[in-house]
């Protein structure tokens, strides 16, 4: 009966065993790589889930730096970067920029004064279509060095559904067990608060590798230094929704500018640890000026559907060994896929 159904006069048992073993091995390997046997694995999905549980309703929004405003402008390269990197947008010239300012929060309706860290994201496009995307924060160093530590920090900030607030013990406990947060916390305690995106410096946080025409690679951390002088204010005087308005008001008077600085690392400077500042006095090269011309509401602005994945780089700029970079890329992609799908469903 079975033989007739299968149309065979040959052996059945041995082929069945071989087939089961081969298929079982392939399917198991596939499931293992996919993480299906390993529910504890830190996946992009788990990271993005956690980021979305820090208060407010993030559906349809970025899961981190959820509240922001779009901007457009240009990057005016002075050409000094061409000695360091073959990136086409470092050649003297002007390149269009789509960007975004935001506050580091999971809540798209958070009060502007509630977030210690602010951010600038840029997408710089070269004439040949190559892109340089970067997400930079106002803190010169990051709070943690690894994806696992970042996940633990996000979990400590997660809202307990019972109280509507994070567990008050969680963040102190996280900080007590993560001494690498020291440099970041020192910045957070000492840096002046301001009521503007315009007067802040933004730091690329992670190290990258600049590669010149001869193939020589140099570690770098980049930053955007504001032309606008910082005006310190008491944090509790910052209104809930002042930052976007302040930006629009300033832009109505004229463009805002930042100087882009490449800080070149020495061989012993850490490239794999965003919590550790590099020693003072490292060579700095000014490679151009970011000019911000106009701002747009995020809901309809040109930055809304841009994933500012910091691993999207032109030829001449490469990833360093910083483990946060791949984690940012993977998490941003998942956050992007989710919010785009949520927007479509609306």
């Amino acid at each position: 009966m079975l033989r007739r159904l299968l149309g065979t006069d040959g052996p059945l048992l041995v082929p069945a065993i071989v087939i089961a073993l081969v298929l079982g091995a392939l399917a198991s390997a596939f499931a293992a790589v996919a993480g299906w046997f390993d529910p504890g694995r830190l996946t992009p999905a788990r990271m993005v889930d956690a980021l979305g549980r820090r208060g407010g309703d993030p559906v349809g929004h970025r899961r981190n730096h959820a509240k922001g405003v779009c901007f457009t402008g240009s990057f005016a390269a002075n050409g000094a970067g061409t000695d360091l990197s073959t990136a086409p947008m470092l050649a003297a010239g002007r390149y269009p920029v789509t960007g975004r300012f935001a506050i580091a929060t999971g809540n798209p309706l958070a009060a502007d004064g509630s977030a210690r860290v602010r951010s600038m994201a840029v997408r710089i496009v070269a004439p040949d279509g190559q892109e340089w995307r970067s997400g930079m924060n106002t803190s010169p160093v990051f709070a943690v060095a690894t994806p696992a530590a970042f996940f633990a920090m996000v979990q400590a900030a997660m809202i307990d559904p019972a109280t509507g607030k994070p567990d008050p013990q969680a963040m102190p406990a996280f900080i007590a067990t993560h001494p690498e947060t020291g440099a970041f916390l020192a910045w957070a305690r000492s840096a002046p608060w301001t009521a503007s995106y315009a007067d802040q410096a933004y730091y690329g946080l992670n190290a990258f590798i600049l590669t010149d025409a001869r193939g020589t690679g140099r570690p770098v951390r980049w930053s955007m230094r504001p032309e606008t002088a910082a005006a310190a204010v008491a944090p509790d005087t910052i209104g809930a929704d002042v930052l976007a308005g302040d930006l629009a008001e300033r832009l109505a008077r004229g463009p805002l500018r930042w100087t882009m600085v490449m800080t070149l690392g020495q061989p012993d400077d850490p490239t794999d640890d965003a919590t550790r500042p590099w020693p003072a006095g490292r060579r700095e090269v000014v490679v151009g000026t970011l000019v911000v011309d106009a701002a747009q509401d995020e809901a309809h602005g040109p930055c809304r559907d841009v994933n500012f994945d910091p691993t999207i780089l032109p030829d001449g700029i490469a990833l360093s060994d910083d483990p946060l970079l791949a984690a940012r890329s993977a998490s941003y992609a998942t956050s992007f896929d989710r919010r785009i799908a949520e927007q479509v469903r609306r």
């Binding site: 087939i19 992009p44 998490s331």
Partner: protein, 176 residues
């Protein structure tokens, strides 16, 4: 005219693409499930390998249409003949559709489609959230279907080679 075996070029394409496609499916399912540094390396490999598979698949389709395939055994039960024909059409469709869906998905998502260094592909679709969502989901589900069909294909090949011993398996393995 009937041959007992595929041509040497067809066999070379079959086995090199088998390795590339299975590697590609593992890379794809692995890269979306990890935050580790290897994520960036896998993504950087996934795009150019997809283009290689697309090019090889088009060459292979041309060869298949021109040179055909050895006939299936006449005594094969009807449902196996039907499954063989259907699964081969599906495999060709997936070999060509998967890279195109991936390319379209990156286009619709507004991403640059970087192959290596300064080498980029142009977008094949305008930026569109709706298309991005449809193609992103399709890429995932078609990938899982592709893997399942490959498993069935391997099971059928082993059945032909080990049980029926009807020359179907050897037509892709031995010389003419």
């Amino acid at each position: 005219m009937s041959r007992r075996s595929f041509t040497a070029a067809q066999k070379l394409l079959h086995w090199s693409m088998a390795v590339a496609i299975i590697a590609m499916l593992f890379i794809g399912v692995g890269m979306v499930a990890t935050l580790a540094p290897i994520h960036a390396d896998l993504v950087a490999l996934h795009r150019p390998l997809g283009v290689v598979i697309l090019v090889l698949a088009l060459i292979r389709l041309g060869l298949r249409l021109r040179r055909g395939a050895p006939p299936l055994p006449a005594d094969l039960p009807w449902w196996q003949t039907l499954s063989a024909r259907g699964s081969h059409v599906l495999l060709y469709a997936l070999m060509i559709a998967m890279p195109l869906v991936g390319w379209g998905m990156l286009s619709a998502g507004g991403y640059p489609i970087v192959l290596h260094g300064a080498w980029q592909l142009p977008p094949i679709l305008p930026q569109s959230n709706l298309l991005q969502v449809i193609l992103r989901q399709s890429h995932r589900w078609l990938g899982l279907v592709f893997f399942a069909v490959i498993l069935l294909h391997i099971a059928a090949a082993l059945f032909h080679g080990l049980s029926r011993r009807d020359g179907v398996f050897s037509s892709m393995v031995r010389g003419r």
